[in-house]
């Protein structure tokens, strides 16, 4: 725990007076720099090119749900390492200590401008947001709760795909979650999926893409297989904007692109249009 604890001392002291500058953000899309405080003020959107950077699950909940309205489900659900994959338990312990997560998704109930919803938000900091038994179970339970209580579901996805360490169990989650979505849909439920950066692999190929309304943030990566794998398979160059949200929107896989700063209003509007207004308890 204390190996790199003191690195910061040298780093801070050796920043010479002349070039001690306020921290800057370098955008991975446009490579330009802006003051970090500006980037953070916009909730991590690049002020130069509008690239929508990654938010942690709790940060996302904080800017989407009404204040103090989020009540978490299954906070401590942890994977039991079904295949006894080596180093998997250790890796997870490390991540649990360094993030406030016990797996790659947080689910629960909340209200969005008064409309009650079941919300799920994936977090790419936890093993690249990969879906294993816990993500699959939490998503399924969220949809089951929503079905039972007549609530709409809003899912924020961010994933590198299936969790390798759980092998076939991870793959099975694709079917399990899709089944839960279907039952929710058959009961007349509304499901809105919001794809954030990046949404790929088994998550794209299961619950993320079978929503009634699919929203994506601008310029995020949405796909299944990686670009290089596809180019290698079909032996053709792919366009620059391949797998960007705008490309997917053009091809009909995404229904609308919504800026982060408008997301809460748009979600609320959609919910209200479908009759999910604030309920007096």
């Amino acid at each position: 725990m204390f190996e790199d604890f003191f690195d910061v001392v040298k780093k801070r002291f050796n920043g010479s007076d002349d070039d001690y500058k306020p921290p800057m953000f370098k955008c991975p899309r446009c490579q330009d720099t802006s003051p970090l405080s500006k980037y953070e003020e916009l909730h991590r959107v690049c002020p130069k090119c509008n690239y929508h950077g990654r938010l942690s699950a709790r940060e996302r909940i904080a800017i989407t749900a009404d204040r103090d309205s989020f009540h978490e489900f299954d906070k401590d659900m942890k994977s039991l390492n079904p295949l006894s994959f080596p180093d998997y338990d250790e890796k997870q312990e490390e991540l649990r200590e360094s993030t406030d997560l016990s797996d790659a998704i947080i689910t629960g109930t909340a209200t969005i401008k008064g409309s009650p919803v079941v919300m799920g938000v994936m977090d790419s900091r936890y093993m690249m947001g990969s879906m294993g038994s816990v993500v699959g179970e939490k998503v399924t339970r969220a949809f089951e709760y929503a079905t039972e209580n007549g609530l709409p579901v809003v899912m924020f996805t961010a994933s590198g795909g299936a969790r390798m360490q759980e092998g076939i169990v991870s793959l099975m989650q694709m079917a399990k979650t899709s089944g839960a979505v279907k039952l929710h849909s058959d009961a007349g439920g509304l499901y809105i999926s919001v794809m954030t950066d990046p949404t790929t692999g088994g998550v794209t190929a299961s619950f993320a893409s079978i929503a009634d309304i699919i929203i994506a943030e601008p310029k995020v990566l949405i796909g299944f297989a990686g670009r290089r794998v596809i180019e290698g398979t079909i032996k053709q160059r792919l366009p620059e904007d391949f797998q960007l949200a705008e490309f997917m929107h053009e091809k009909g896989f995404v229904d609308m692109i919504v800026e982060r700063r408008k997301m809460r209003s748009v979600l609320s509007h959609v919910l209200k249009l479908h009759g999910f207004t604030s309920k007096e308890v």
């Binding site: 725990m1 604890f5 003191f6 910061v8 001392v9 040298k10 801070r12 002291f13 920043g15 007076d17 001690y20 306020p22 921290p23 802006s34 003051p35 970090l36 405080s37 500006k38 953070e40 003020e41």
Partner: protein, 452 residues
């Protein structure tokens, strides 16, 4: 000397007072809200009494609960710290009513000086230079307009019952006066329950220089040098230093004597601070007087070697001051950086949470007045200050040099802090040269956000 004192406060000042009590052989009683059960002050005091739920108005501002706690534990005196009930004349009176000694000035002095407009009038009458403006609160917009015209724009509209930087509006043009006055009145009503406002000339780029005074109940008054608190963001102090880089011995003497005159005018006793604004020509003007110990008191203590908090207790117990004005010498230079649990890159948003790891510097000339420990959970209910880091050097350069390594070594994990921001500030050329005025930090923050 008292046998037992109740500390009507929390956080680092409560810990500071506990330490002073220990040195004086006085038993101390802490009070805490349910949210502060695990606070350092509640844990290390000799006794601790729970006085209410987290909300300040139900606990630390709950006069009856505090007094009840004092009576039940047999405390003879109450030290109010700063903020909370420290400048509440009604509380001071209630203490007296129940036979408790209030460690501070008289209720009358608190009342007089707590009304900022009336305080200014009192000072002017005593011959202390004051900022040109209205004499007391203005009764109407026409009166406001008249005073503003006389003082000369720009002017400030300020809440009479105000403090802590609230209820203040700047007016650059006569056409803006009415709207800004209404806004200030509304904010004053909301924060202080009193919408009275007064008009004051706005000095361009002055320094905030305050004089520490202390007086016993036997008519002895001394001043203990000055503190420069111009490093302020939205009227909140961030860095303070003693002595001020723009004050020489002659100005110090004039300001100190003016401060003592001011204190005598109100028959003041115990510790107090007179805040002045000093303009570019080194003219000083009375702004307000704070009738309590201040957050930044440690820098004065380091440079003068005088323990202000112990002296407060001794004075309240009726003891005379042990030193005279000629004994007060300023040795070296001290700087204080306030360490807050906040994120400067997110508009200084407070960052409550659990401190998962904590390492604090020590070494020559370093003093830490803090109230946190590893494993402590900072709650969102109170202010975000978690520690004060003070560096005392042989001169200003030395103090800055010490502060730099001390800040580098101060590590807090689990919550955001402004430590790296403080490093950024003490390495600014404007700070190093001492040429920063009270507008500097706000201007710097605007430029910083725009990426310049």
């Amino acid at each position: 000397m008292f046998k037992k004192i109740l500390i009507a406060n929390r956080g680092e000042i409560a810990v500071r007072i506990i330490r002073a009590c220990r040195e004086l052989g006085v038993r101390c009683v802490a009070v805490y809200s349910t949210a502060d059960r695990n606070s350092l002050h509640a844990q290390i005091a000799d006794e601790a009494v729970c006085i209410g739920p987290p909300a300040t108005k139900d606990s630390y501002l709950n006069m009856d609960a505090v007094i009840q706690a004092a009576l039940n534990t047999g405390a003879e005196a109450v030290h109010p710290g700063f903020g909370f009930l420290s400048e509440n004349a009604e509380f001071a009176r209630k203490c007296a009513e129940y036979g408790l000694v209030f460690i501070g000035p008289s209720p009358e002095a608190i009342e007089l000086l707590g009304n900022k407009a009336a305080a200014k009038e009192t000072m002017a009458a005593a011959g202390v230079p004051v900022i040109p403006g209205s004499k007391g609160a203005v009764a109407s917009i026409e009166e406001a307009r008249e005073f503003a015209k006389k003082a000369g724009y720009p002017v400030l509209v300020k809440a009479s019952a105000g403090g802590g930087g609230r209820g203040i509006r700047r007016v650059d043009l006569p056409s803006e006066l009415e709207a800004q006055m209404t806004a200030a009145q509304q904010e004053a009503e909301k924060f202080f329950g009193d919408s009275a406002v007064y008009i004051e000339k706005f000095l361009i780029n002055p320094h905030h220089v305050e004089i520490q005074i202390i007086a016993d109940k036997h008519g002895n008054y001394i001043y203990l040098g000055e503190r420069d608190c111009s490093m302020q963001r939205r009227n909140q102090k961030i860095i303070e230093e003693c002595p001020s880089p723009i004050v020489d011995g002659e100005l110090r003497k004039r300001m100190g004597e003016a401060a003592v005159t001011a204190a005598k005018q109100c028959s003041y006793f115990n510790a107090g601070t007179i805040e002045f604004l000093v303009d570019e020509s080194h003219n000083f003007y009375f702004m307000e007087m704070n009738t309590r110990i201040q957050v930044e008191h440690p820098i004065t203590e380091e440079v003068t070697g005088f323990d202000l908090v112990k002296a407060q207790i001794e004075i309240a117990a009726g003891l005379p001051l042990k030193v005279s004005q000629s004994d007060i010498k300023l040795r070296g230079h001290a700087i204080e950086c306030r360490i807050n649990a906040e994120n400067p890159n997110l508009d200084f948003r407070p960052s409550p949470g659990t401190i998962t790891a904590l390492y604090m510097p020590g070494g020559p000339g370093i003093r830490i007045d803090g109230a946190v420990y590893q494993g402590y959970t900072i709650t969102p209910y109170y202010d975000s200050m978690i520690s004060k880091l003070i560096a005392h050097g042989s001169d200003r350069e030395d103090a800055i040099s010490k502060m730099k390594w001390a800040l580098s070594e101060f590590i807090v994990e689990g919550v955001d802090t402004n430590i790296e921001f403080q490093l950024e500030m003490i390495t600014r050329p404007e700070f190093r040269s001492g040429a920063y005025d009270i507008g500097f930090l706000n201007r710097y923050m605007d430029k910083r956000k725009a990426g310049k």
